[in-house]
Amino acid sequence: MAMMVQVQDLAKEFRTFRRREGVWGAFQNLFVREYQTVKAVDGISFDIAPGEMVGYIGPNGAGKSTTVKMLTGILVPTRGVVYANGFVPYRDRLRYTKTIGVVFGQRTQLWWDIAVIESLKLLRKIYDVSWRDFQERLEHFDQLLRLKDYLNTPVRKLSLGERMRCDLVAALLHRPKLLFLDEPTIGLDIVAKKNIREFLKEINRRDQTTVLLTTHDLSDIEELCQRIMVIDHGRLLYDGRLQAFKEQLGRWKQVKFFLKDRGDFAELESLFAGDTLQCERLDDLTARILFLRDQVSSAEVIKKVLSRLEVRDIAIEEESIEEIVKNIYQKRNPKL
């Protein structure tokens, strides 16, 4: 099967000049400029198959946006190969952009001062969408997102959630095969987030739209993606299935015990004295035991506690992907 996106050894370097400080520095800047080369993306390779939804994460400045900008044709790579939907994005820009949709959560692509529908009508012409397709798709989007209430409102008067829905519609009007989403749920409330995630699932299911999603909100990824790519310092640290990501990289597990008596904590602590696991007191009647999952099992921990104590309740938790990711960024994870 032909890949929707093919990236090979892709890199982007920026040359920025270092500004000196102060008046004398500013004067020097006029004549002598010291340049620095920053490697924003430093040789990454991956493929994305048609219909896949891929989560792309990384801390600020890791190279996420730069990658997306090269994939969408905004930036010309310093080296490496990009093919997307059969095009070289920056070279075949006019033909390529007709087949993709892009949503930047922080910026709208709609005309700020006029009604949403006017923007959509102009986009219809820009993307050569026939009037019939336009109406049909608008109807379909309306069923999923309930747009009609604010189609005639100027964009500047929309709430963030409404504006985001309109931006999604604007990006999908020409039924792109490839959709790039950058922080699509940033700043939205839970209901709006859910609505937008459902919408994206439906679009992906119905049209086989390939989606690359960059986000800081990992629950977006857990809801939508089976595959995750992690970038830091311009290099890919992980590329694989989300489930495997959690299994391989989640090292910690924790069991919470809800105690019956205040004095029970001392007893609990003495039980595990000398073991590698950590015993913490969260409040008077709650204790937490943290352990490495490949050393002990939660069953063993629970058995040991119950043999000596009566407790009100027990809760087992795995390390969340937030925490795993944080560990990766901080280079604390020995597996990487």
Binding site: F14, N60, S65, K69, T72, G73, I74, L75, V76, Y90, R93, L94, R95, T97, K98, I100, V102, F104, R107, Q109, W111, D113, I114, E118, L122, K125, I126, Y127, D128, P154
Partner: protein
Amino acid sequence: MRKHLTLLSDYFTQYLKVRLSYKGDLVIAVLTSFLATVLALAFVLVLFSKIPTLQGWSFEEVLFLYGFSLLPLGLFNVVSLNLYDFGNLYIMEGKFDRILLRPVNSLFQVIFEEFRLESLQEVATGIAIVAYCSVKLNLSWRVQDLVLASSVVLCGSLIYLAVFLSLTSVSFWLEDRVGLVPPVFNLLTFGRYPISIYNGFVQFLLSWIIPFAFASFYPSARFLRRRDFDLYFYLIPVVAGLFFTLSTLVWRQGVRNYQSTGS
């Protein structure tokens, strides 16, 4: 190409809708343009009444040169708004990202996303002055003259566009390019006077480096029946085409060099 032509009217309609959504603003703009036209005419008459002749050019002839120069300049000003602010608006604020994401020529989008219709008052003022001087100087305008005049006016606008587009493109490499525009803009007024009053260097500069003389002086000389500049007159489309092509090449190179903002 054909798609872009229809899109031009769509972009223009979109601009009108935006303007019409602020009714008060629009009324004031129309009124001030009208006032500006009247004042500009009065100003020109006062100013030029002090200059009886200029190296063999009569008062009406010099006034004609001025009036004619307003035509290409006014048309250029209608579409040039985004060129001046390009560095701030498109590069610094990152609006250019969105431009590159649409299947439309990038220069086309930047130029036609904003208009300054008020500048049509400059064209109106120019036509009024040219008409007045034509009567005074007994110049007759046949239909073919009007067609010819319109085409060289368009070429003139294209020359202004080429010069300022090249300056704008510098923003792709340098953040602080603003310093370049005012001196060049001042040079623009030099093209309004008989080129023979300048020394050889300025004449060369205005003809072949920053060819403002081809946008206003050389075309007007022909309609004033000053035959010694005929050769330059026929070169107008060549110069306009050449400089415009060069400026679009600079633009294209700039787009390839575009670095986009942080995130």
